[in-house]
């Protein structure tokens, strides 16, 4: 008598190397995101506590604390970012792959079949199509939590100090921390920044956010050798879209968040540079075409 289990095993198509691991990773990231957003106040409290903990060790400077928190987040997510770069590169290389181009052409009018074939190619090459966005996604709870965390932690109104006291873990002595120093350079981190120049309030920090975001996206934009490369076109559009979005965001929110964006952009450039992925020629006019 044949063993039915063995028969099933023999008939099952073999999974590509690393595919199961990628699936587990995807499920793990989704689980973490669900957990984070269903317990969002706990995430906020966690970030607030780290921020206040750093603040107490750096001579009560929130600006420095935010920058160090950014460095910390970057260090923790370094492997994820590296994986994101790897995933993005793999996806870009895929655009020039013979098999990939062939199925695009062959199943151009059958979207369902095309999707199936794309998944097949992904499996065969051991690529996780979500590989480039999962590391980014997992950072979102921290980014989202930063906004309220900075608002609480700076405590520019009575209610924010009260909320801060409710957020802090028992080992942190809020009473000794109050009043919190919300000033950094010329900026009140609890408010949107404006610098009055000739009677007009200029959002210098928000402009810096836009500029560093633009530079960061330009420097990290991969060079495309294929004319009409969709991913390169997207990257070019994103290098305009993101600075504008983040500028509008920074203009209206506590400037502490803008400090985070600027620091994060600079650190991102540093990380890309250390990994040899910075493309300095992109900053030059016409540099992308080369």
């Amino acid at each position: 008598m044949k063993n039915p289990g063995n028969q099933t095993q023999a008939q099952r198509p073999e999974l590509p190397k690393g595919f199961a691991t990628e699936t587990v990773k995807t499920i793990a990231v989704i689980a973490i995101l669900v957990l984070a957003f269903t317990n969002f106040s706990a995430v906020i409290n966690f970030v607030v506590n780290i921020l206040i903990f750093i603040y107490t060790f750096v001579g009560k400077s929130f600006g420095i604390a935010i920058i160090l928190l950014t460095v910390l987040i970057r260090l923790i997510t370094w492997p994820l970012n590296a994986q994101q770069m790897k995933g993005a590169k793999a996806m870009q290389d895929m655009q020039n792959d013979k098999d990939w181009l062939a199925i695009q052409k062959k199943y151009a009018k059958d979207r369902e079949k095309l999707a199936q074939e794309q998944m097949r190619v992904y499996r065969e090459k051991g690529i996780n199509p979500f590989g480039s966005c999962l590391p980014t996604l997992i950072q979102f709870p921290i980014l989202f939590a930063l906004i309220p965390s900075i608002t609480y932690a700076i405590g520019s109104t009575p209610l924010s100090i009260l909320k801060l006291s409710n957020s802090l873990y028992s080992f942190q002595d809020v009473a000794s921390l109050v009043p919190l120093n919300s000033k950094f350079l010329w900026i009140d981190l609890g408010l949107p920044e404006r610098t009055i120049i000739f009677g007009v309030g200029i959002p210098i920090l928000a402009l810096t956010v836009a500029l560093t975001t633009y530079i960061q996206s330009k420097l990290t934009m991969p060079v495309s050798s294929t004319p009409g490369d969709q991913s390169a076109a997207t990257a070019r559009m994103m290098s305009i879209y993101m600075p504008v979005m983040l500028f509008l965001f920074s203009v209206n929110y506590a400037s502490g968040l803008s400090i985070y964006f600027v620091a994060s952009n600079i650190l991102s450039i540093v990380q890309y540079a250390l990994m040899g992925k910075v493309n300095w020629r992109n900053l030059l006019p016409g540099g992308q075409k080369s």
Binding site: F140, F144, T151, P158, I202, P203, Y241
Partner: protein, 378 residues
């Protein structure tokens, strides 16, 4: 490509939405003069007829100009409005514009239902959190920049300049935030600061007479007891007694939590709450605690003496009625939700309680705690 834009836009919108999880940034300011209540709620100040609950006028300040409002941020009114002897209503914009407005309720734009601006004052560097104190023809305005600004109410200017700027603290301006209304004994002005100090200022010379450290920030104000002494609570969880003349002080009562609201004197008794939810009655003549009791939640508001009862509003939204022996009962609770951080006031015949995160901004209650009206701002 479009999918990617949609994705990123959704992410940014989600960030904005989730940042809203912080809720409100401040609790409302509330005051009353005769039959009119004044409510400073987020970006609007309302004048409300206490008898009917009808809005008399509202003021939202000058337009912020939308998202491209360079040099400006949305208006924010959180300090208790103050009414001067000649009927002007002083309100404070707690946004980065730092403007103090004096509104003339006798000159209303009927179409907009908005009073005219009699004068403005904005030559300050910090947020307005504390209500000013009017003494005769002078106005004393503590600011989060650590200064008390003295204005002449009779100079007739539409753009006021301070006749005196009193720097009350020796610590950095970032720490010396003044968040509570000063009090006076007729000779001196007493100011409390988040830099943990209590300061006495000579009302005539504007000299700082003394400055004493409390060991904890003082978000609330000082109270003058029937014994002529000054009582101040702080985040150091202590009630301190000060000699107003010399500044000599000593702790007279340890509390369970931070003392946030200004103590209220009624005869020989002083009433106040703490953020652990305890209410205290302290006898200033005997120098002893009468009683302490714990209704249900954080207390930041000062108690309100209403007839023969003492009302205390808590973070749970409940209003508790205490008798002088410390017996208490839940006197009022909103039907749905709401947090009461603001000190209730009496306007006309009613006690008014302001709410945060509630279906209504304000509720009027008679002595039997019956709801007479609610105000939603609509």
């Amino acid at each position: 490509m479009r999918k990617k834009f949609v994705f990123i836009t959704i992410i940014l919108l989600a960030a904005v939405f989730l940042s809203g999880c912080t809720g409100a940034v401040a609790w409302p300011g509330l005051s009353a003069s005769g039959d009119v209540a004044y409510l400073a709620n987020t970006n609007t100040v309302y004048a409300i007829d206490a008898k009917s609950g009808k809005q008399l006028w509202k003021f939202s300040g000058e337009s912020s100009g939308g998202i491209f409002s360079f040099g400006k941020s949305p208006n924010m009114y959180i300090a208790n409005p103050v009414v001067t002897e000649d009927g002007l209503v002083i309100i404070l914009d707690s946004s980065s514009k730092h403007i103090m407005y004096a509104l003339d309720p006798n000159d209303i734009d009927l179409e907009k239902q908005t009073p005219s601006i009699k004068w403005k004052f904005s030559a300050v560097h910090g947020l307005w959190i504390a209500p000013p104190l009017v003494i005769g023809d002078r106005l004393f305005a503590p600011n989060s920049d650590g200064n008390v600004y003295v204005l002449d109410l009779t100079d007739g200017k539409s753009e006021k300049q301070a006749i005196e700027t009193i720097t009350v603290s020796e610590s950095s301006k970032e720490e010396a935030r003044l968040w509570s209304q000063p009090v006076t004994d007729g000779e001196r002005l007493f100011v409390t600061s988040l830099d943990k100090s209590v300061i006495a200022i000579d009302l005539e010379t504007y000299d700082v007479l003394w400055r004493e450290d409390l060991g904890g920030a003082v978000p609330g104000g000082a109270a003058l007891g029937s014994d002529g002494m000054l009582y101040v609570g702080s985040l150091a969880k202590q009630l301190e007694r000060f000699d107003p003349a010399t500044g000599a002080h000593e702790p007279v009562l340890d509390t369970k939590g931070w003392i946030w609201g200004t103590p209220v004197a009624n005869g020989d008794n002083l009433y106040f709450g703490d953020v652990e939810g305890y209410v205290y009655s302290y006898n200033t003549a005997k120098g002893a605690l009468n009683w302490e009791a714990q209704p249900d939640a954080v207390i930041t508001a000062s108690p309100l003496v209403y007839g023969d009862q003492i009302l205390v509003a808590t973070e749970s939204g409940g209003v508790y009625s205490f008798n002088t022996d410390g017996d208490f009962e839940e006197w009022y609770k909103p039907a749905t939700k709401g947090k009461a951080y603001t000190t209730p006031v009496i306007a006309g015949d009613f006690a008014l309680v302001a709410y945060l995160e509630s279906d209504y901004y304000l509720v009027a209650l008679d002595t039997e705690s019956d709801e007479k009206w609610t105000f939603t701002g609509k």
